[in-house]
């Protein structure tokens, strides 16, 4: 057998990014950093995530304002994944910090296959207008050491979106899992197992 000790550049970036995504989802509320491909700002982090998880075997959907098309083209180009209706997509990307009610329509899996629930990716702005909202949010559950809970490390997520996720994931283990990414590469994970309280 021939050894293959060198990993190509894209493979290497995906592998590193994946380890960070795994870290993000197993430590909800904490921020990790992804390494994005060049030339796709402001969606470098979203494309980096797509690149390491999406391919022709999955369907994705992009929701949002004018820049949604740019994001969709970038993801399709980087992964070869097929676009899909929101209700059937495995991955749903929001080109902004809120889902505009879209998250509610994403699939949550069935009782015998909760793992079929979608993965949501929210693209946050680099300089959020409101940064103090996050102190009204408390996260507890698997991956969070403090039993009293923690405040999410990333700011700029509207409180209504947290409320939205509370509702969507009320029927655990059915639900959706979310990543929040910033153009700088910062990522925070919020799996459905995280209990969210908004004050």
């Amino acid at each position: 057998m021939r050894e293959a000790h060198s990993m190509n550049h894209d493979g290497r970036r995906s592998q590193k990014n994946y380890r960070n995504l795994l870290q993000a989802l197993s430590r909800p509320g904490r921020v990790v950093r992804l390494d994005g491909p060049d030339g796709v700002l402001p969606f470098a982090a979203a494309v980096a995530l797509a690149e390491c998880l999406l391919d022709s075997e999955v369907g994705f959907c992009v929701i949002g304002n004018g820049s949604a098309q740019t994001l969709q083209t970038a993801i399709a180009g980087a992964t070869g994944a097929r676009t899909e209706r929101l209700e059937a997509a495995d991955f749903v990307f929001f080109s902004e910090a809120g889902s505009r009610g879209g998250a509610r329509l994403a699939k949550r899996g069935g009782p015998e296959s909760p793992e079929d629930g979608a993965t949501l990716v929210y693209c946050l702005e680099s300089q959020p207008a409101v940064v103090r909202d996050r102190f009204r949010v408390r996260l507890t559950g698997p991956g969070i050491p403090e039993s009293s809970g923690i405040v999410p490390e990333i700011s700029g997520i509207p409180l209504e979106e947290f409320q939205e996720l509370v509702t969507i994931n009320a029927d655990y283990p059915l639900g959706v899992d979310a990543f929040f990414v910033r153009p700088s590469g910062e990522v925070m994970g919020l799996p459905r197992s995280t209990r969210i309280q908004v004050r």
Partner: protein, 313 residues
């Protein structure tokens, strides 16, 4: 009836070797192709998001046999990168034949560094043990799982157990343990003791001894489990509640070693292997975690092997 001779579709090439693809570059980094890695990576994330829930995946055939760690191996290969330091153990031992074989394969397809030192490893693939040395937050422990379904003990049908998990209907498992107590005045489950994860999913912790179960409860590392033959991935994230099934008046108990110590390093409070000497028939005990034993021996040369670690058979 007309006889007719069989003929092959096309004449074989003059030299059969011509039809083989070239050896160069025949295997990609970490053996699995990128598509397979991505699928495993997606499934692992879902497993982390729903602690203890078995996530099906399209398990690939590996060049080691089904049942010999192909699940753990696929996770290792989907995760590994050039900066990783790998440790592989079987029954707690780094130099057990199967562990050596898996290490040999992974280094052959990745060239990563290997170690026996638990603290130095970033990825640890294990069969049947959790290292004695506490794991750190950035370490990943990957379990080889023969039978991922904890309910298989009471129900052979996958269709049925899938339903039971959906409804969190674990009554038959409780009944099994209860009947055990009625019959034997004791829970007779040895290794592979069923646990409830995040108060929701009943999980098979793989055949680790009961001794190791407390290490799963609110541990600092991420625990990943994979059954290659049964095609299931599941996980226990850090700081997740993992409770062995037990009754109020029948507490869960780990294996008792009656205060015995390792005959080699002198440690007390490690999981011990019982070894019977051919010549004398005497029973001795030594650490099942060989790397821990080595470390204790080096760091603690004053404390020599003590005869109290032995016992007359």
């Amino acid at each position: 009836m007309t006889p007719r001779m069989p003929s092959r579709a096309s004449a074989p090439p003059a030299d059969w070797r011509d039809s083989l693809p070239p050896a160069e570059g025949r295997y990609s980094y970490a053996f699995l192709d990128e598509g397979a890695k991505r699928e495993i990576r997606r499934r692992m994330l879902k497993a982390v998001a729903i602690p203890g829930c078995q996530v099906p995946f399209g398990s690939r055939e590996m060049p080691i046999a089904r049942g010999w760690g192909t699940g753990g191996l696929q996770l290792t290969l989907a995760l590994i990168g050039p900066e990783d330091v790998l440790k592989v153990i079987d029954q707690g031992a780094d130099d057990s034949v199967n562990a050596v074989n898996i290490k040999k394969f992974v280094t052959r397809v990745t060239g990563v560094a290997v170690t026996t030192d638990t603290a130095a490893a970033t990825l640890i693939q294990t069969r049947h043990r959790i290292p004695e040395e506490p794991l750190r937050p950035n370490q990943l422990l990957i379990f080889q799982v023969p039978i991922p379904e904890p309910l298989r003990l009471v129900e052979p049908s996958e269709r049925e157990t899938r339903r039971m998990h959906a409804e969190a209907d674990y009554s038959r498992m409780w009944l099994y343990l209860y009947e055990d107590i009625v019959k034997f005045n004791e829970i007779t489950v040895g290794a592979r003791y069923p646990v409830l994860v995040n108060r929701r999913h009943l999980m098979d912790p793989s055949p680790i001894p009961r001794w190791d179960l407390p290490k799963l409860d609110r541990g600092e590392a991420l625990f990943l489990f994979c059954a290659g033959r049964e095609k299931r991935i599941y996980a226990v994230p850090p700081y997740t509640e993992v409770q062995p099934l037990a009754f109020e008046d029948f507490a869960f108990r780990v294996e008792a070693f009656a205060g015995r110590r390792c005959a080699r390093c002198g440690s007390v409070g490690t999981y011990l292997d019982e070894v019977i000497d051919d010549a004398t028939g005497r029973r001795t005990y030594s650490c099942s975690d060989t790397a821990f034993c080595e470390k204790a021996l080096r760091g603690n040369s004053v404390k020599e092997a003590r005869p109290s670690g032995e016992d007359r058979a």
